[in-house]
Amino acid sequence: MTQYPLLALIPLLPLLGAAYNAFVGARMQKRFGYAAVHVPAILMPGISFVITVLAFARLVSLPHHERVLTTTLWSWMPVGSVDAGVAFLMDPLALVMCGFITFVGTLIHIYSVGYMHEEPSYWRFFSYLNLFMFTMLVLVLADNFILMFVGWEGVGLCSYLLISFWYKEKKNAVAGMKAFIVNRIGDFGFLLGLLLLFWSIHGVTGGSSVVFRNIEEILAQPAVREALSSQTVLGLSLISMIGILFFVGAMGKSAQIPLYVWLPDAMAGPTPVSALIHAATMVTAGVYLVARLHFVFALSPLVMSWVALVGAVTAVFAATIGFFQHDIKKVLAYSTVSQLGYMFIGVGVGAYWVAIFHVMTHAFFKACLFLGSGSVILGCHHEQDMRRMGGLKKFMPVTAWTYFIACCAIAGFPFTSGFFSKDEILWKAFDSGNLLFPGGGLMIWALGALGAVCTAFYMFRSYYMTFTGEYRGAHGHNGHGGHQPHESPRNMTHVLVVLAAFSLVAGFIGLPHLWHLPSYLHHWLDPVFSGSAEIIRSAGHGSGHEWALMIFSVALALTGWAFARWLYRDNRNAAPSRLIESKHPLVCGIHRLVYNKYYVDEIYDAVFVGFVMWFRKICDWIDRNIVDALVNFAGLFGRLVGRVHGLTDTHVVDGAVNGTAWSIASMGSALRLVQTGNLRTYLYIAISGAIALVIMNFILFG
């Protein structure tokens, strides 16, 4: 555990940038123009990237199994056994994540200089972007759960701020709110998982901690493992319940099946935001969490298979929705959800390093795709509907080429980064041995393969619809006057080229063992995941199977590409339009179902949001009419105050009135009737009172 004080600078620099822009940005922008805003904003993540490289150099120099750099700033919550401190930890896994976050982040900062160039609140955008970098880096570098939770919800906040960046339209604000609340549901699961883990360890060993390394050491002891898996809560073993709860957190953040609804709506934000947050970095936080807690997940086969299954189902489900989407960013959003499904398959079957490999490669090509779509949108003057694009290859050659390369990568064409990482995941899924049911690996692999075909199809569909054929843009016809789509400025295209290059090259650091070539990434991440290595058992298929699968997945990618090319190239083929207008009930039904995203959003609104809104009305009514009335001394106060104060406030008085049958106030007015003012009634009462006294004296005291 070598101390490395520079670590603290990595997250703090972007924070500095964010603070600078937030407080001073507006004035600087007015006085010195845009440069004064975006130069420091780009510089900060850049320096963080440089420090990450230095840290990498420092790590490499350390022996294989002690590659951990830490720095502790101050102890944050020293209460009881909760020993959380503001401390950062850089181990190989964190380095990989930190590396591509800072690298892709800096590139996207450069890109957004071009993309947002005429935005009035330019400074606000960059301060939010820097704030996001800060929170993401805190999430990745945190050495304990609570600091990670700070990063975890911090990124949720930044995604909220950035999605509703153009807050003037109501739908953007609503999308931002939806993202935050769905993330918050995930965080609810994360919190409960953390508490359950913390206290169950405390129950077993008497001492507990929130720091990952301590927990890993504690869980390494067989006695603790046996105790955690034997005790049950709500029918599940303790360790699997902890795993499921953490996975709920991961689902919320990484948009898996039940909690993915916010990601497509998150496209309401500016495209660089979608690229940075909703493609490359934030959404992978869930995968990072599961990878970081590999020692927890590995212990319970049930959770492993659950994660893999959810990943696989999400992969296929999101891919199918991608077929009929017209908005280019929605297509990419659903592709992100489906690619995340693949990562969770990787983590679910225990191939952690492969999942991280896919996270990295996905960061490159998905960022490239999103930025490509960004430059397309900018080129066509904020037009996002693919049906009104087409033939942009002529106008935007660089964007077209980089988009094409990224599509090949994501589809998994041979020798692209996507091919290596996705194929490795499919192979590990096929070969995994420790899923619950023996055939599990095969089924997950099958779903993955189906997803791969769909991915190839809808990606190339989007390519062909936008870049081939003739321009269907609304402004002016092909070839003369009007607003011609134009190529994006240099600072955007250079970023696209870099990313496209990386999405080709990145694959070579994780070559499959089949080719007996050194897999640097596997070797690099090995010490991190050594803890659960012996638990993960492979089904022991020969390398023959691996070759067959590799060829089969390439074939899948090609078929997907061919299909898309046949249907959508230069949109000559009328088949897709015929399919849409066809009256055939079954086809039309399926099309409408898929086009409307299986009506998931509508179902959620009706069920969950509906229930909450209904229940709040009930609570409010109870509060105003029953609690208020009952507690006011049985209506004395309410009715009395209502009447005496001449209030016509219906809620208060109604509530109080119906609680007055035996209220003191009504007794009060009854007493006034007794005081008639007639002397003889007084005497009568006096005498009867005396007699009552005498009788009472006898009855009570004999």
């Binding site: 106060f637 009060g668 006034r672 005081q675 009634t681 007084y682 006096a686 005498i687 005396a690 006294l693």
Partner: protein, 490 residues
């Protein structure tokens, strides 16, 4: 005999004062300075009586053959009456409700009433009790009826007379039976006799007559302190009577009633006889609750203060039911604090009544904080003290009442304490209605043409408010004085 007279000097001073007042009224009639002279005489005599109280001879023992017992207990109450009547003389002088031409008699009768109170608080003989009670009642009937041409004053007096006569008739009848049973009029002998009857195996009919007669005697006292079954006269009389009279009625006779009640219960009804703590407890809860609840809906300020005085009688009865020396000292302390608060409140009522042309509705108090801020602040002090909110004296008084109860630690005592607590919370509401009117409402346009009330009322109110505030913080001298004078239990 000679020694008795020296001990009796406060009463002698008062008698002299009464005579002087009547003579002065006769000789100086129809001269303007008559009012001043008679008032001065009254003031001087009451102060003289007060001072004589503290000369050494005054608390020596049984006088006039056991008729009167000048002990520390009665000295405390006599001091209380002296202070109350001093204040009464002053604010009656300035009040326009007392007819200017006949107020010579007013002060004379006031002094007579003081004398009656002095006697009542020290009477230890049935005859003396009945005599001083009747004397006190008669004096207060005349005062209530003082405004001859006012319908309300006459009606109030009529009700007071007939009700009072019935109650004292009942008491007389009760005493006659007690006399028959025990053969003596001295309450200590009565106590011993009753003890024999209830302890020895006397015939059940004797027990029956004993308890009936005690209940009848109690009726007389209950009428005087306006406890529940005998409280009907109180609201009408306070509303009808001229305000100074209502003020002194709500403090003087009520405290005297408590003095004689305590003395009678302690000496005439020792432990074995009638379980009077339980009965008094039940009556106290009934009195408190009725006083508070009925006061909520009042719109006439004097009627509201009448019900509030009934409620406070209930609180004091609560401590009486504890029956312990603590209980008695708590009642005595509370009587003193209550006297200050209630007189203060009535003085403010008089002042507002004078400046608002005689209207007694609570609505006349709207926006008083703007038109007469000093009065509003003083009234707030008195009202919050009546509720029993800490920084004021009223809280300390109530604190001692509850302390006496809880110290007895019986099941029913907790129930009574709980009832007392709930009642004082409920009482906040009707007191706060006045405060709300004064502070939170804007003055009705008609009101702010108020002509200035005599400054004397404000002065008296301030003089009364100071001890209420001081007692809230430093109250040990008064408490020591009250505690020392519960010697009749030793």
């Amino acid at each position: 005999m000679q020694q008795d007279l020296t001990a009796f000097c406060p009463e002698i001073v008062l008698v002299a004062g009464v005579l002087a007042a009547f003579v002065a009224d006769l000789f100086l009639s129809r001269k303007p300075i008559k009012r001043v002279v008679v008032a001065a005489i009254a003031f001087v005599t009451v102060c003289g009586a007060g001072i004589c109280l503290f000369c050494p001879a005054s608390s020596s023992g049984l006088l006039f053959g056991g008729m009167v017992h000048a002990d520390a207990f009665s000295v405390y109450f006599k001091a209380l009456f002296a202070v109350a009547v001093c204040a009464a003389v002053v604010f009656s002088y300035f009040s326009d409700e007392v007819e200017r031409d006949r107020d010579g008699e007013y002060y004379a009768i006031l002094l007579a009433m003081t004398l009656a109170m002095f006697l009542l608080s020290s009477a230890t003989n049935a005859l003396m009790i009945f005599l001083s009670l009747e004397f006190l009642s008669v004096a207060s009937y005349v005062l209530v009826a003082f405004r001859r041409r006012d319908k309300r004053s006459t009606e109030a007096a009529l009700k007071y007379v007939v009700y009072g006569a019935l109650a004292s008739g009942l008491m007389l009848f009760g005493f006659s039976y007690l006399y028959g049973l025990v053969g003596s009029l001295d309450i200590v002998e009565i106590g011993r006799g009753l003890e024999q009857i209830f302890a020895g195996g006397a015939t059940t009919s004797a027990k029956l007559i004993g308890s009936v007669s005690v209940m009848m005697v109690f009726a007389g006292f209950a009428y005087k302190i306006a406890a529940v079954p005998f409280h009907m006269w109180c609201p009408d009389v306070y509303e009808g009577a001229p305000t100074p009279v209502a003020a002194i009625l709500s403090v003087g006779p009520k405290a005297a009633g408590f003095a004689v009640l305590i003395r009678f219960l302690i000496s005439a009804l020792p432990a074995g006889t009638i379980p009077w703590p339980a009965i008094i407890g039940i009556i106290s809860v009934a009195t408190m609750t009725l006083g508070n609840i009925a006061a909520i809906h009042q719109n006439n300020i004097k009627r509201l203060l009448a019900y509030s005085s009934i409620a406070h009688a209930g609180y004091m009865l609560m401590a009486v039911s504890a029956g312990s020396p603590d209980g008695t000292s708590a009642v005595m302390f509370y009587a003193a604090v209550y006297m200050l608060m209630n007189l203060g409140a009535f003085v403010v009522v008089m002042s507002v009544r004078a400046s608002a042309g005689g209207s007694e509705e609570i609505s006349t108090y709207d926006g008083l904080s703007k038109t007469q801020p000093l009065l509003a602040v003083l009234m707030t002090i008195f009202l919050f003290s009546l509720v029993g909110i800490p920084p004021f004296g009223g809280f300390i008084g109530k604190f001692y009442l509850f302390a006496a109860l809880i110290k007895k630690a019986g099941y029913w005592y907790y129930v009574i304490a709980l009832a007392g607590v709930v009642n004082s919370a409920v009482s906040l509401y009707y007191y706060a209605r006045i405060i709300k009117a004064m502070f939170l409402k804007e003055p009705v346009s008609g009101n702010n043409i108020m002509k200035r009330a005599p400054a004397a009322f404000a002065a008296i109110a301030v003089i009364l408010a100071v001890p209420v505030l001081v007692l809230g913080v430093y109250w040990s001298p008064l408490y020591l004085f009250a505690e020392r004078s519960t010697d009749i239990f030793k």
